[in-house]
Structure formats: structure tokens, C-alpha cells
């Protein structure tokens, strides 16, 4: 049974239909990428899962129907969604943002996890704890958003355009962290990317969306060789 399964999911913003019936599945421990052009419905697919857009169709997460649950409830089931634009709490400090990541957790391990995240995985956070998060650079905000999502100890991590507006070096660094967490801790990842090269590098399977529906799906290696995908998204 897949960890996440969408079947015939539709979503609209007012009169504009964004998803025309998407079906996809993510198994536990997989890294799955969603590719596609602007407006293909990539972001809306993630929003459908996290409950931030109204949908019809079936969305099952860990065997439960989550289609009609609010974002708080979905988050509490172990889904961490790093939205487009990162969703940093700009007026709070870096450390307060990180602490908010662990909002749903109780117990003694939380503090140690926060410290470990700030010293081992993202060492720069340690020195900038008191800084107002809105004054961080774009790359730092993306790192903080990722760190904040990870301290929640999610089962499913959803990243929306993590590379957007970032320097290539930082993008590499970001995806290294994602890959490491997938390999070492079995974290399941669903990543939306416009940068198909990076996305296919880090993922094992991928879906290509076109105007709100799945156009192509397959393993990342297959997609890399796929004529249409190569031409439209990889640029060679």
C-alpha cells in the first residue's frame, strides 16, 4: 500500500480548474518528483494533499482519507509541506521559526533535535538564532524552511520549488540534505521542481504534469531518456 495515493483529484480556484483529475502514488521511502511547466498544476497537487485547496476525488495518506481535512489535521498526521515562497514567519526570529517546526511534538527529545538541526545539519542557524527570519537571504530562508519542516519529524516531506531563485551551489547543498535524510532515515519525499535535471537526479520516480493532468510517468531514468520530456524539460 502506498503512503500517499491520489485518485482522480480535481481542484479549482474559483472558475479556473487547476487539476483535471490527477492520479499518483508515492511509496514509503521513495523520492518522487513532479515536473511540468508553469500552471501545469504542480503546486496545486501539493496543496491538495496538505488541505490548503478544496478538492474532489480521493486522497489517501497512510490508509486514511484526508481529502476533506484541514491543513492542521494533515500536518498532525506527519505531512510536512514547505510551500512555494517557503512560508517563513518573517517577523519571528530564526530560532522561533525552528521551534515552531516542533510545535506538534512533545517530550524530552525535542530540544536535542532542535539543537542537532541547528548545529549539525545547518550550522549557520546556530550563529543566527536571534536574527529576524525575514532578513535572511533567499537561500537561508529555504534552508530554514527545510530545517523547520524536518524537526517536525514528518513521514512525508513535500517541497515546492525548493530551487526557485537560488544559486546552483545552494541548490546542490539543499538536495544533498534531502538525499541524505532519505537514505539514512527513510524519509519519503514528494518534490515539485521546474528544474527537471536536479529533480530527476534526486528522485527515483517522476510524474510530468500538463494542464492539470499526468502526461507522462515513470522511473527517473526512463524519463531522462523519454523523447518528449527531454525536449520540453531537459533542454537537449
Amino acid at each position: 500500500m502506498p503512503l500517499l495515493e491520489l485518485e482522480g483529484v480535481q481542484a479549482r480556484y474559483g472558475p479556473i480548474v487547476a487539476l483535471h483529475g490527477i492520479s499518483l502514488a508515492v511509496d514509503e521511502g521513495e523520492v518522487v518528483a513532479i515536473l511540468g511547466a508553469n500552471g501545469a498544476g504542480k503546486t496545486t497537487t501539493l496543496r491538495a494533499v496538505s488541505g490548503t485547496v478544496a478538492t474532489s476525488g480521493r486522497i489517501a495518506y497512510a490508509g486514511q482519507d484526508v481529502a476533506r481535512r484541514g491543513p492542521e489535521a494533515v500536518a498532525r498526521l506527519g505531512v510536512a509541506h514547505v510551500p512555494e515562497g517557503r512560508g517563513i514567519l518573517a517577523e519571528l526570529t530564526v530560532w522561533e521559526n525552528l521551534r515552531m517546526g516542533a510545535y506538534m511534538r512533545r517530550g524530552a527529545a525535542v530540544k536535542a533535535d532542535l539543537e542537532r538541526m541547528a548545529t549539525e545539519h545547518f550550522p549557520w542557524i546556530d550563529e543566527r538564532r536571534g536574527q529576524q527570519a525575514g532578513t535572511l537571504s533567499g537561500g537561508e530562508q529555504q534552508m530554514l524552511a527545510l530545517a523547520r519542516a524536518l524537526v517536525a519529524r514528518p513521514k512525508l516531506l513535500m517541497l515546492d520549488e525548493p530551487s526557485l531563485g537560488l544559486a546552483p551551489m545552494i541548490v546542490q547543498e539543499l538536495f544533498q540534505v534531502v538525499r541524505r535524510l532519505n537514505e539514512e532515515e527513510g524519509l519519503t519525499v514528494l518534490v515539485v521542481e521546474q528544474n527537471a535535471n536536479i529533480a530527476l537526479d534526486v528522485s527515483s520516480r517522476a510524474y510530468v504534469l500538463e494542464v492539470g493532468a499526468v502526461a507522462v510517468e515513470g522511473s527517473s531514468d526512463e524519463l531522462r531518456r523519454h523523447e518528449g520530456v527531454r525536449r520540453s524539460y531537459l533542454g537537449y
Binding site: 491543513p71 522561533e96 510545535y103 506538534m104
Partner: protein, 294 residues
Amino acid sequence: MSEFLQQLVFGLAIGGVYGSLALALVLIYRTTRVVNFAQGEMAMFTTFIAWSLIENHGFSFWPAFFVTLGIAFLLGVGVERLVIRNFEHSSHLTVILVTIALFVIFNGAAGWIWSPEQRAFLGPFSAAPFDVGGVAIARQDVGVIAVTLLTVALLWAFFRFTKLGLAMRAAAVGPEPSRLLGVRVGWMFAMGWGFAAVLGAVSGMMVAPIVFLSPTMMQAALIYAFAAAVLGGIESPLGAVLGGLLLGVGTTLLGAYVDVVTPELELPIAFVVLVLVLLFRPAGLLGRVVVRRV
């Protein structure tokens, strides 16, 4: 000199009352972007509850005080959940009308339940003054300052140091990202209203012994509180409290030392100063512009 000190302490006491009511307004404005015109009437209503506990149910002051704070919290939460929440997506004007309606409802209800006449409300502080270096300082004034500032300090510590306080701040500055982190934002907003009602209740119970208990007792205080909140910067909790203290001390000293300033003139003069401040500092004294990088 001794009279000056007495006036100063009285000004700080009344300023503490304005400041805590102003802080209530800021709290609600920051969490739900609502300007709550009913804040003063909610404070008055809960003060009547305290009075009723003391007069009719045999409570002494402090137990009645704390029970009232609990009731006020529930009242604030209830008002948000049952009324304000339904207007979450309405225009500012609609919401203002709703809070004005609440103003009228609480005012009318208090008059109907407890009758509109003025009553004496005995505070917890004895009339005997402190002797500070030969100056008699009213125990009542010192007590009011201590209680209002302690309440503000406790609330500050709650928001600064507790997980729930942090989540309430997060919900206020970023409701959408907070939901994704598992925060039940609606309840955070409701609790913001609850804490605001608690602050209002403190200010009501502290000012009632000074101005007498009646359904209109908080109306002047509310106007001062609005002025204090805007003067300090409507987004700044510290600004609201400082604004309240400034207004309290300023109007008291003006009334005491400038002969032409009769009590009728205190409020207009306070507002002339307020308008002048806003001309030069549109965001208020402590209002700040949030720095953001994209």
C-alpha cells in the same frame, strides 16, 4: 513637591489602566486585525460580574478577581468563536459595525441585569496612604500600578517564553504557514480574544474603585486606550502600555498644574497631542516597519 509626587503616582495608576486596555486592543488587532470597539464594555461587564460575586455571592475581593479573570477569558474566547469568526472574510467596515453592535449589546445587557445606576466598588487596597519620605502616597494608586504592570509583565512572559505563546504569535503573523505546522489557528485567535478580555477585566476592576461602577464607566477609558494604542504604535504592545502611562501622567499633570485646563479639556488636549505626534511619526512612537527580504 509632595503634591507633584502624588499627582505623578495617580497619573501612573490611571495610565496603567489605560495601558492595559490599550494592550487588549493591540492584542486583538495584531491577531485578528479587528479594532474592537466593545473592549471597554466587555471590561465593564466583567467588572459587574466581579461586583456581583462580591455583593451577592459572598466572595472577598481577590477570589472574585481571579474567578472574574477566568470568566473574562471564556467570554473573550466565546465572543471570537461565536461572533467574530463568522466575519473573518468580511470588510473592515462590517467588522467595525459588529464590534459596535457588541458595544451596545454589552452596555444594554449590563444596564438590564444590574440597573444603570452608579455604585460604589470597593477595591482591595486600604485608604491609608504610604509614607514615602514624608510624602503621603495613596496605597490605592500604588496597588493599581502594581497589579496592571504585573499583569502586563506576566502576559509578556507568556508570549515570550511559552510554546503556546509562540504559537499564538506565529498564528498572528503567518496564519497560513502556521496551519501547515499543525497550529490550530482559529483557536489561537480565540485565545487572543480571551487574553484581551482578561486584560480588560483587570483594567475594569482596577478603575472601578476610582470612577464608580456603572455601565458607562469604561467609555472614557476606551477612548484613552485607543489614543494610547495609536500613540504607541497600534502594532506595538510595549508602545500601548507606554502610551497609556504617558496619557495618564500627561492628562493628570495638565489638570493639576495648568489652571485653564479643567477636566473637560483634558481629553481634547490629549488628542491634540496625539494628532501632532502622528503627524511626525505616522506609525506611532514605537511603531516599526518590518524588514523583509524576498
